[in-house]
Amino acid sequence: MNNDDTRSPSDKSVSDAYRAVADERVPEALDKRILTEARQATAASKGRRWPMFRPLAWAATIGLSLALLLEYSQTGLDIAAPDPAVLERAANLEALRGHAADGEEMDRQLDDAPGAVVPEPAGSTPAIKSEEDKLERVEQLDMMSGPAGRTELQEAELNPAPVAEILADDARSNRANVAEFRERRSAISKRLDSRVDRCDAEARATEAAWRDCIQGMIDDGRHDLALIEYRDFEEAYAGAEAFDWRR
């Protein structure tokens, strides 16, 4: 009691009377509930008092997750859907292969027309073949807009020699472009071939050959492609023996 309580307005008889009757005690069940709550609270907080074990817990969680993933992969019973990014990459590679095929088709067309004659645009003016034709055309243009109003195109029409030279230059330029395009296409195709080494028709001919091809991809560490190939394989040979993805 505080020292100043000696002046508290208390009364011994009242206090005694109160204490004589105030003898209630807490029900045991209530005691147990509260003490249990306290024990549980301290037990729960003890779990949070070891931050040094947190990295260990993370490592254990990651390790367990990897183990589960490998287990599923090994059994081959429930392969998770491949990463969308992998599928997208494969789709892009296929598209590039398609472009490469288009390039080859273009090559053939170019090879079929070795003279590199630039096709005449539809609706253009017919070529001027004689001096009479030229004079007639000059008169026609002057009547329409006068000598000063001739456009460059009209001048070119009246003087076909420079135009032929220009066209010849264009054809040379086009040949150079075509050659450059072929080189680049070839380089891209080589790069694609080195990266997209899917199992060809020969490898897919039999289950064993196809399996060897896929297993080879796994062994080389090309798991993305192996997974894509595996999907086709699984469709063809459902229930086949699982692959060893751990290599």
Binding site: M1, N2, D4, D5, T6, R7, S8, P9, S10, D11, K12, S13, V14, S15, A17, Y18, R19, A20, V21, A22, D23, E24, R25, V26, P27, L30, D31, R33, I34, L35, E37, A38, R39, A41, T42, A43, S45, K46, R49
Partner: protein, 215 residues
């Protein structure tokens, strides 16, 4: 919330309501060798549930009677009692010994009671003591009858007190708090606390005297 100064010595265990004539009556057992309440609470905050159990055993019955006689029916008293201890348990990590633990405990309890009144808008002034909450001691029938009569008389007198006076009286008797601590718990100033306690004691004394005269 009033500022509470640091009290390093927890005197609540040896506290007794002061008497006008200066006599000291020890109601609580002397526990000089036992750890102080604040030390136990700090140990509990560090995860020592045994410390809490020791602390709890020191204060459980008094706090229960505080709720029971403050104006709650037994069921509500139990709810409030559990709520108060739950708050103490939850706040263990943030507990700082800025005052006696008893002051801290009864401030939490007082606030629980006030919150309950606000929640329910009305509270029952009748303290209904159930038989199973009574002391289990075997007493002779005559003594039991006399005690029962005295209990009803005192309870009736307590019921007739205004809430603030009853609160001050119970904090003084059950928690062993002095005027300063009563003021801190109730949020009143010291003079108000003193006035409330004085009126409470005066009215209870008058009620007891009337009962004696009527015998």
């Amino acid at each position: 919330m009033p500022t509470i100064e640091l009290v390093t010595h927890d005197s609540a265990l040896n506290a007794a309501p002061a008497l006008p004539d200066g006599d000291a009556v020890s109601y609580a057992p002397t526990m000089t060798a036992a750890p102080e309440d604040t030390a136990l609470m700090l140990r509990f905050g560090e995860g020592d549930s045994q410390a809490f159990e020791e602390l709890y055993r020191r204060h459980n019955d008094a706090l229960y009677r505080y709720f029971l006689r403050l104006g709650s029916d037994p069921a509500t008293a139990e709810d409030l009692y559990q709520e108060a201890w739950s708050k103490i348990i939850r706040a263990r990590a943030s507990y700082r010994p800025t005052a006696k633990f008893t002051t801290y405990l009864y401030r939490v309890a007082h606030n629980c009671f006030i919150d309950n009144i606000r929640r329910n808008k009305r509270h029952r002034h009748t303290a209904q003591i159930e038989p199973d909450t009574q002391a289990a001691d075997c007493v002779p029938p005559e003594a039991a009858a006399e005690t029962g009569l005295a209990r009803r008389r005192l309870e009736r007198a307590l019921e007739d007190l205004p809430f603030e006076q009853r609160d001050a009286f119970l904090l003084h008797e059950e928690a062993g708090l002095g005027l300063d601590d009563i003021a801190r718990v109730t949020g009143a100033n010291r003079e108000a606390a003193k006035s409330r306690l004085r009126y409470a004691v005066k009215k209870l004394r008058a009620a007891l005297d009337d009962a004696e005269d009527s015998k």
